[in-house]
Symmetry: D4
Subunit: 256 residues, 8 copies
């Protein structure tokens, strides 16, 4: 429901006298978020953006995360907490309120799947240059899956051995959208981008040493891709790549 | 047609004796590109990626650009040359071979539209933070249009006056994909991203002074967007944003 | 008038039947800005922020600037265009519509003062480290003055000769807010900051060579000031410093 | 008391023969700071700047901090130590001299309030983009409060869900000065700045990963704010933001 | 065997009917790599590049490394794992499958030499500026040696005492290729490069403090060498320097 | 002739009384360079390094360049001046002393070939990603050729169309050393490096816009190459790449 | 005369009634600088620092420079203007007031020597790595000479040909202080520093291309010098190097 | 003794037949350094540079440090090891060979003073901006003292309270050379530099947070000092500052 429609409905009710002006003022202010003091939970995000608020853990105390997690879970939503150290999951387990919650170790994510979404028809390939990029790929996989997407990991097919990539061409050429994850020189995104007719969401990773500068090298490579149609998210941000790919695939399947 | 299919067809012909081994070897090498000595024109790109090769002008001599342009045009393709100074267009005009070619001054692009594509059903909104971002927006518009997309410019709606943006919400919330273009602090991409359920392709521009560092400030802002679903292209790269958005919209409309 | 009040008034009118729902929807969208196609002029800014929209010239065509200038001037406002090359002013002069407009050469600003504001009681000191910082100081002076502030330039009192600064102490210690402008190592802001009890708005400038890196050195110096109470604006941004100082002084004089 | 006045008084006494020249020389040198060998405590700062010297802990040994704390406390001042690890507080507690001292855990600050200042009339809003920015907001709150300011935390209202911010507009629009704290892309400062008529003191935080580069992204965003009237302090420097806001508010209330 | 030859052989077999088309398709896809799920081992690399795949440990779990190590070792190859913490070697030892594997502590490498290569005729000098560069020199030595090269370490001959270097001139002037390893200001590569007639492979190291910025200083020095004939690898990348030097020396000795 | 041998010969002559001590001291100082006041021409470099001193033009006055050029030419050497603007060549022509000198426009080099070297047996492939990299490739070609190397340009085979590269595999796989030149994301060096068994000398170019940062993007890509055996020279430094490749090839052919 | 002494003298006069308090206050403020409005000329600098104020031209208008030059010259001082374009000198010539003023073209300096200082006993060697560093060396020479120092240029002795440097060892080893000027990789400062027992003042220059980054490479090299006793000034700052070397030599000769 | 003299002496002996040619060759090579395999100890440095080799500990193993320490100590020299963790000193103590060695905790240095140098006549002031800069000041003090210099620490006199500095003016104005140590914005060096007539050696420190970027802010400030005569060493490099200051003071006192 768009904001415009909400406004119109409200104005109709004011006109009809169903609610009075002060009440309307209140409603306009009473937007669907919940204030925990240290956090404003945006329950409205599902409607507005098509996916619920996700908890990004770094910088929050364990106590804060548990409270936000509970507030989100109590509405019956699926809940995802990213970049979560294992001790945060243990604190959640002690609460004994979310027996279904699980910890995805490689992805460093806590997942609570309370309502099963219908799986997407298309599969999103998640391609990595090396084995060390796997944690970011896992974060992308977990995120896409809780948003109802089917995924397939294609791992360790970097440009130092092109034939490892080329064997997967058919799969890549028939995809709706591809996530490419690479550290070091990050060249894989350009190579994949040059071979397919769908958008590529590129994730630079902080894998590498010396002049990889924590992912800057791969980031610049991907931003400067000579293959148009490659768009980039932040270093190590498997989460945002998955959300972007999901939004794309949903639009496609919504029209199908 | 995928590479696999090409290979299979060829192998069948070898088997049947229709062509002999050396001929097959030759065909495998005779890929659909044309070597001008200083440039390999990739006529095959249309098949592989869904859009023809585009001429990026900086660093090429006028003479080289005219030759590449001619080689592409002679196949009957639509041709696009980006970041083209006006004198390059004048050199093309002197050739008297492409009377239909036109120069898009603000976009700094040369456009030759030899076959009219069917226009897309959906319109891609191209949103800019300021008037000074217009040249990049124009590059995006020209690119998307020659690839058959309909577009709508929404100009000068940066976050210093949020109400200018909010008036366009309905249009933005019903889009398949949105291009957001902003320099200075580049905050517009996050704000738009937080309000819609489609992917946002963000283009940082080099507009700004001092600590905008030629677009680095806007680039970092967009990469760090707290709104997931925002993917970023290179600074001032309206072209790549348009290609990405086009690939997304085509996938959507192909399934519709 | 706050947005809340505007909303309330509108809702009252809907309730009373004075306007109908569609009209109200329209009014909500009909916000006080004017769309020139390439620019959305924010006539509403005066109300919301206390100062009118200002034209930042770089990246805009002369034609665009003249149109925006005219649109702003026709409402009877004072108009300010910053970073304006002299040829832009000449184009405005040719329009023959704004005989009062003047060009401030050192400040690179075009000023049209159509309504005289009452001058502030307090004087804002604008202090520069060197003579070469003068253009930025002039931009600050012109901006503050068109917003009704009185200013005093204290020029070339950098830390290589501290006694030149100390002679002005009494003036500085009695100010409401001080603008300090310095390039090279930018140490002046810390030194002034350590001596006064009012806030200091620091402007790093791009004056310097080599490792001044276009103002980065002075910017970092000011951000790392060991004297608390120093806040920083962008490199060479005399305009924003003046707006900030004006907002502070207005709040002070409004309460006085 | 200004330095000029101190000088004049001294000269009068020399003239009257009340003190002789050497004594005067001595007095001129005997400025109100105390030399601990490793630290010069600036007891004079309260007079000169309106707030006492504050202990910035990093790089100092615990033993040094305890000695400086004691020297400041013995004059009866309020004392503030920022960026203090908890073990420093424990060392202070062992001294058993400051039973009133307390440790503000989230803010990482030690506070000793020996004289209660009269609370400010106006409230300073401290606005954060996310929950993870809270420690910096707490440092700002603790600092402002020991300097006599009343504050209100508005937490987790970042631009990914604009409606969470807009509900607080009335409060923000009636403030004298606002502190905005944001990491990641730091867009909140521009958005707030565009909506209010008071100065905004922006604090970039090091919250974020990858291309946030420890706060550089947010810092650049804020410096490049398209909304004039936003001034910036160092990354994570809640202390300096609070001092700046306090100096502004004091000037306002002094005139009221 | 080149890819061309493989293709030709295959086509011949298809023609002769020895294998059918689907089988040929399969063979074309059945390239000599092995998929462990999380890693694609490129057994083919020995043929293509002249050295086997090497395990770069950072970012991989110990379990993954052991599996990759085993898969490589089982083909009878020499195996090298670089940047390996000692606990990884201990995990390998527990497997009890590779009694010959040894841990090179200073080089942080695990080495399994299963087939002895014939030693090179020429010796590759590995020259370091300081003692602290030794771990990188050791990584280079171990790598070159497992690829069959003889090496000689010339240690601690940096430019602060030129005579220490000059005593080795004869050795350096008769080498085929030299590896120069230096941190801090990295000037040694230019000085050596200016004195010899063979290529110099320069390795910047992260040794240094402050403005050495983790090796950036040495890297820039080496890239800007006024002595032509100096080519640079990544910071601390003794491995890649050794591979490059080995490839050069092999080409030389192959022709001899 | 090594320095050791020079020393020994000299000592023998001192011993035999053929020359006296002061004369020997003089000879030791009278090294084979020529002092023009503003430049020390290193005629000795040919002996020591295998190639004569080359004139790097930027920062030198035309007058200085002409004098250095003359001094080098008068010894009968081949002379090369790089990064030479055309007006420098015109000044040389006016001297009427070097009728054989020619200007290589694309390479921006002045070439005077006074003695023809025997051409190398092997050909050095010079591979570029795009047409815009051609000037750097030309600088490499001119440099290698004046040092006696045969070269072959393979132009515009970047990773956005991999098949354009693969068609040249046989040539690349049989080379002694390959120069790879690429701007933008610079991925070509890794892709080539992964396919061959000879060293690759990679040259990043400043071709690109926005986040290519004048070649930094390509430089980092190449330094972080996941394909070992790739060594890098400075941005746009076709000259140094050619010298390095020449030194390698000479060593190979000297042993053949 | 120190500030202390000035104060004491003044206090004595107050005591004796020779001057009254207000007069004393005035004198304290009447410090020896002259206010031109846009510039505070620090005539007092000669006394305090041992050299007169020098005019740094960039950022100042020609008119301002002429006025400052005149104000300094009228006191009979030697005057130096650095980084002066030739047209500034021409404007001075038109004034016809300083017939002795001369323009040092290579150094880009205007020099007016009105009183001849006694030449220093020791000679300061100014050593450059290349011919292109000459303008910076000239700026250093001109500056040192107007401050009474004798200098000797040793040009083009960079580390690519060490023997060119070593021939000057005796001169360098007997100097009081040496100025070393180098661009590109800047290694010369370390090499010289390692061979002498006097301080080395190192000047990085912006000579170089690509990864020299306008002098950053040379700057970092010099800061990271493994030879202690090397201190660095700003990129291209021949002026400050000369001042530092002069201050050192004066202290030495003052004691001799 | 200069290298020239050594050569001359040797040549005389060859001529006289005192030693034969091969012996002379050997002597020329037998330079006064000692090769420990992993380190070349430069015993000759005392003669050449006026101070013995110093052990910089980071990156060396404890075992290596102990061996180098022993080798240096056995010649009877004073020995200094910088950046030494306490456990290295403990390892030395266990050797029981250097009972006089002491650990300077704050400076992180090991000092063995075997021969007492005559103390300098002049005192070198070591000035710090804050208490947290003390470890670097201590490193400078320990270094200068073992080289025979007398020093005086002036601590915590940063520009946020200028009067703390001004009280020390007489001491500073009579010094031969001053070391200024400051982190954060590093402005102290410019302020001191502007007040004295001797050279200032500035040491930026890594004290600070956020945009101090580990000392880059202070480094840039000092390099851009508007006060000429300030030369800079690496971040936190108290050692090199002390060596530079010592070399200056020795030259002065040698001439006195």
């Amino acid at each position: 429901m768009t904001i415009d429609n909400l406004l119109k409905e409200l104005l109709e009710k004011v006109k009809s006298g169903e609610i009075d002006v002060n009440e309307a003022m209140g409603k306009l202010r009473h937007l669907p978020f919940e204030d925990l003091g240290f956090a404003c939970i945006d329950h409205h995000r599902q409607l507005r953006r098509g996916f619920p608020e996700v908890i990004y853990c770094p910088g929050k105390t364990t106590e804060q995360i548990v409270k936000i997690f509970s507030a989100l879970a109590e509405k019956g939503n699926n809940v995802l907490a990213t970049r979560a150290e294992e001790n945060i999951f243990e604190a959640l387990v002690k609460e004994k309120k979310f027996p279904q919650a699980r910890y995805e170790k490689l992805a460093r994510a806590i997942v609570l799947e309370q309502k099963k979404l219908e799986p997407s028809r298309a599969v999103i390939p998640i391609v990595t240059a090396g084995t060390a990029d796997l944690p970011i790929a896992e974060e992308a996989r977990v995120t896409a899956e809780i948003m109802g997407q089917r995924t397939e990991l294609i791992c360790d097919v970097g440009v130092a051995g092109l034939h490892r990539l080329l064997v997967h061409m058919q799969k890549l050429q028939s995809a709706n959208v591809i996530i490419v994850i690479a550290g070091m020189e990050g060249a894989l995104a350009s190579v994949v981008g040059g071979l397919v007719s769908c958008p590529v969401i590129a994730v630079p990773t902080s894998i590498g040493t010396g002049a990889s500068f924590g992912g800057i090298s791969a980031l610049l490579t991907m931003l400067n891709s000579c293959a148009a149609g490659v768009a980039v998210v932040n270093i190590d941000n498997g989460f945002s790549a998955a959300v972007t790919a999901t939004l794309i695939n949903r639009k496609i399947e919504a029209k199908a």
